[in-house]
């Protein structure tokens, strides 16, 4: 608990988490507002409300989480941290828990904020959350962010540089996994086992307009919750590697 308090103080005594949070909110909810504003009257769907949260704002959350670690290396406060808490693993796990929790809460705020805004802007659309799939599609965003934060922190610990970590995360999430789908025949088979594709699969609504949703056309072998567990498994595995490296490496 002590270490969680330490990481909370550290995180909220700098400005970047506030800026990133604000940016994620503006981008996530803002995209929904634009989509709602330009869609035909009464044609807004739950799937469309979460494009901003699950794609655009996610990238900002990944950056925020990586920054929580890389700025410590950038300003050498990681050394001050390890002097105060020589058990590096527990210090880094505490940081991961705090950042993942904040990311999760932020995810729920952006997801339900987007949904609420769409409901207000387009009252004639059917935006009621009725089915389990619909609940998962909206409320699941928080879980996605929390897992994404763990993954981003692991990358941050391994790379230690802001520019490197951010480039890796953004290229990986926004380009690499999508581009692999272009490879003939095997592309979509590989994609079925890529972490961010599985994250998309977890949120997928299915149903009538499944073809328009992220992750469409991929032959997933896992159930939707299985996909989330797989995504989380990869994030945790990467974090374990990062913790081992951080423990052995000279600070």
């Amino acid at each position: 608990m002590t270490l969680l308090a330490v990481e909370r103080i550290k995180l909220f005594s700098t400005r970047s988490p506030y800026w990133c949070t604000a940016l994620a909110l503006v981008l996530g909810v803002g995209l929904t507002a634009i989509i709602t504003g330009t869609s035909e009257k009464g044609q807004m769907s739950i799937g469309l409300t979460q494009l901003g949260s699950s794609q655009l704002a996610l990238a900002v959350v990944l950056v925020m989480s990586a920054l929580a670690v890389t700025t410590e290396y950038r300003f050498n406060t990681i050394r001050a941290t390890f002097l105060a808490v020589p058990g590096r693993t527990s210090a880094l796990i505490a940081k991961t828990v705090v950042v993942a929790f904040i990311a999760g809460v932020l995810g729920e705020i952006i997801a339900f904020g987007s949904w609420g805004l769409a409901k207000v802007m387009s009252p004639t659309s059917d935006l009621a959350i009725n089915t389990g799939a619909e609940w998962r599609h909206v409320a699941g965003v928080g879980l996605l962010y929390a897992v994404g934060a763990v993954l981003a922190i692991a990358v941050g610990i391994l790379v230690r540089q802001t520019a490197g970590a951010v480039a890796i995360l953004l290229v990986w999430n926004m380009l690499l996994e999508g581009l692999i789908g272009i490879i003939p025949k095997v592309g979509i088979k590989i994609q079925a086992w890529l972490p961010f594709q599985n994250a998309n699969h977890f949120l997928a609504l299915g149903g009538g307009n499944a073809a328009d949703q992220p992750g469409a056309g991929i032959d997933f072998k896992l159930s939707q919750w299985g996909s989330l567990a797989y995504f989380a498994g990869i994030a945790v595995a990467l974090l374990v590697v990062a913790l081992v490296v951080a423990k052995r490496r000279d600070a």
Binding site: T2, V6, K10, S13, T77, V85
Partner: protein, 300 residues
Amino acid sequence: MIQAVRLRKHYGRTKAVDDLSFTVKPGRVTGFLGPNGAGKSTTMRMILGLDTPTGGDVTIDGKYYTELKQPLRKVGALLDAKWVHPNRSARAHLKWMAVSNKIPASRVDEVLEIVGLTEVAHKKAGGFSLGMSQRLGIAGALLGDPEVLLFDEPVNGLDPEGILWIRQFMHRLADEGRTVFVSSHLLSEMAQTAQDLIVIGKGQLISQTTTEQFISDATQDHVRVRSPHAVKLREILAANATVTEDAVDGALVVHGIPAPQIGEIAAENQIVLHELSPQRGSLEEAFMQLTKESVEYHAH
């Protein structure tokens, strides 16, 4: 007590610290002296568990730093004053450190007061001058009221006022019975601060002794003599001493015979003296002499 036993740190083929053994005694200021690149900072990082030694070990009262439960209460360290997030206030910086070692929040205000940063406690540390950053670093080191304190080049880049402040501060800490281990590449600085000296060069121990002993061993006394009959005097003195000539003003520089005796010899031989002055070798010269074999990069 800090004890290093056959401590080694190798980076590939570079031996930053090589077979270094020393003891830092409690209740004294011990200077850690060596030219730039001698391995002082590396040694300090190993003491504090930041770097893992390639071989040997270093303990604080018999324990590794990483074994300490609340290390800030036992050991306070200032390795680099810039290890602060520039957007974090001085108080917030000390606050998280205090919380991490269960140190009461009131202690944060206390140490800010001690180092004179109360006025700027809420200001961002990124805007601090080097002197202020140094004070903040010292506040952090003092936070847990530790018995052992480590400072790495604390006066580097400070103005004379800052240097004086730090020097007096270290004396105060030692007077309070704390163990102070402070590194520097300036012997003149250490001569005024430290009671004991550990001198290293190229990662190896050159000498461990009291400062007084080190200075008297290292500095050679000589006598400057000027006389209108310099040639004659030189002949007489050369029988029992090494005599050289000062390149600047042609005065004789005599090693091996104390000044009173030179005066007597001159009187016996009816030689007029214009100057007879005992000289003490400079500390820096002595230090250069000792460490010249182990300086990493020479200027030619």
